[in-house]
Amino acid sequence: MSAVIVVHGGAWAIPNGLAKASVDGVKVAACDGFSVLQRGGSALDAVEAAVRALEDNTVFDAGHGAVLNADGEVELDAIIMDGRTLASGAVSSVKNIANPVSLARAVMEKTAHVMLTSTGANLFAESIGMATVPTDTLVTENEMKEWRKNKNYVAGVMEDFNCQWAHDTVGAVAVDSAGNVACATSTGGIRNKMVGRVGDSPIIGSGGYADNFVGAVSCTGHGESILKVTLARLILSHVEQGKSLAESSQLSLKYMGDRVLGAGGAIVVSPSGQWAATFTTERMAWAAVDHDGLWYGLEPNERRKEQLSQ
């Protein structure tokens, strides 16, 4: 069994100014996650490490670099899921946490619950000694500028249903050498979202799903559309019916476009080590590491390969 990790940095109309930094960011995160697998770490450890790297990178809308809501605040959502037992942890609308994916993992491992929201999630973070960070440290100069420019969320939606406002959620899926799969997804949501808006990312079956018998998925794109079709679970239901990972992803994304007019992207791994990265938005930054090397892309059908630097 060969280990694989796939990461994404969000499916949307990534502007040229962010293109290189986005691709570089997902490549680094994929390598970080893969090195965990190489050291014998679990798929769960690998997706957490990869998503932490993306959360720490200000290019992406998760952790540092998150977008601001209508009140100019940062509210973060994240999920993690372990395909062995279907155990899952999620946080929604949490504030002042640099790595929400690690808080989601703590919800999974240290509580009897699956999901904690808002101040309850922050109280839990405090109770386990997780450090909080000042809001300013999570917000970039660029986001402050964009937020002021684009304060009217409704106008943003009308201008272009899919793409013009940042929703570059990050995520990772992995399979380890024992054949266990896991997924993790983290996001700051949509710029100028209503206070308390929860998107697809922390919702099990929408933002992600992992099951050792089928595979693992992490989704990105228009959150409300992803929720309406429970995209992660939908993709895996096609896989269960015997379709390939790529075909399952394409069918599901096309269905989301037809049925609820939403665009997005998904990364998938199977327990046997197959993988796919698919999107219906203009661009999606993604990278994967398998036994062959480092794969990555940004444009539709773009698939580049590099030898892994040891």
Partner: protein, 336 residues
């Protein structure tokens, strides 16, 4: 192709799902209601059953008058939220801190429109707030203080916290503060989550689910109820499901969506519900119950727990039951 024409093409593609492809001549509108799965104490079961039957009747009257399945499920759940016998709205269980935090979801099978609220306080009818999220925002789910902020902006009145707390819920909360108490074991549906599914005369399906969650839950705990695909799902092409039971287990298998996948594969409402519940039991050790309809008006109320209080109304007959195998009936014209 210009952007506009791409949009137009997509809307056309989408509209084929919205037309009443499933309109059949012998469609009988139906509403199916549950009041929670688990163990219902005897002294409370009678009140639960009469509350459910009267809510099912109210939903059915809406359907019989040509009302939509969405109107019916929201009215049913609103009545159950107002009934202190159920763990939703007034009568909700208390969290570890002794407060009420509620979750609710609605979903409309026509366009997959959905609205949900999680961790909301001081709202008498979270189900109506969830419907407002669906109808008045571009979002699907609002949480905590943000949901309350939205409620204020919509003119939904806030109610005093005590108005939602019953003597019974406070007594159970106090009991579970004892060091040797096992709230997880004890909470299983003694008073349950409430939910409803319905099919209207045009073949549109809808679901609604509302809950106070789990007894002595951590502050901010969100269960299956407001999570689309777990607490409920509705799709005119397949059917609608509302779930109840151990929330964390329901989430791990996305129970509502799982049952509908089985129906897409050709299973009946009963078989699909049983398959979903059996899988949840074997894979994650969780018990629960569901109410399920398909767009042709077939319905089922199934559970793997010891009991589930349920009622259904179709063809002017109310069906109801509490233990496995029960199916009592009364005429819609019988006095309550």
């Amino acid at each position: 192709m210009s952007f506009t024409s791409v949009r137009a093409g997509r809307i056309e593609a989408a509209s084929k799902y919205c037309s009443s492809v499933f309109r059949v001549i012998d469609m009988f509108p139906v509403v199916v209601v549950h009041g929670g799965a688990g163990h219902i104490p005897k002294e409370r079961s009678e009140k639960s059953m009469s509350g459910l039957c009267s809510a099912a009747r109210a939903g059915y009257v809406i359907l019989r008058g040509g009302g939509s399945s969405m109107d019916a499920v929201v009215e049913v759940v609103r009545q159950l939220e107002n009934n202190p016998s159920f763990n939703a709205g007034c009568g909700s269980v208390l969290n570890a801190k002794g407060e009420v935090e509620m979750d609710a979801i609605v979903m409309d099978g026509k366009a997959l429109g959905s609205g949900a609220v999680s961790g909301v306080c001081n709202i008498a009818n979270p189900i109506q707030l969830a419907r407002l999220v669906m109808n008045k925002t571009s979002h699907v789910c609002l949480t905590s203080e943000g949901a309350n902020q939205f409620a204020r902006s919509m003119g939904v009145p806030e109610v005093p916290p005590e108005s939602l707390i019953t003597e019974y819920s406070r007594m159970r909360w106090t009991k579970n503060l004892a060091v040797d108490a096992d709230p997880v074991e004890c909470q299983m549906g003694k008073m349950g989550t409430v939910g409803a599914v319905a099919v209207d005369s045009e073949g549109n399906v809808a679901c609604a689910t509302s809950t106070g969650g789990m007894l002595n839950k951590m502050e901010g705990r969100v269960g299956d109820t407001p999570c689309i695909g777990s607490g409920g799902y509705a799709d005119n092409l397949v059917g609608a499901v509302s779930t109840t039971g151990h929330g964390e287990a329901i989430m791990k298998v996305t129970l509502a969506r799982l049952i509908l996948f089985h129906m897409e594969q050709g299973q009946s409402v009963e078989a699909a519900s049983d398959l979903g519940l059996a899988y949840m039991k074997s894979r994650v050790g969780g018990l629960g119950g569901v109410v399920t309809v398909d767009p042709r008006g077939h319905w089922a109320a199934r559970f793997s727990s010891h009991q589930m209080a349920w009622a259904a109304a179709q063809k002017d007959t109310v069906h109801y039951g509490l233990y496995s195998g029960e199916n009592f009936t009364q005429s819609i014209d019988d006095p309550l």
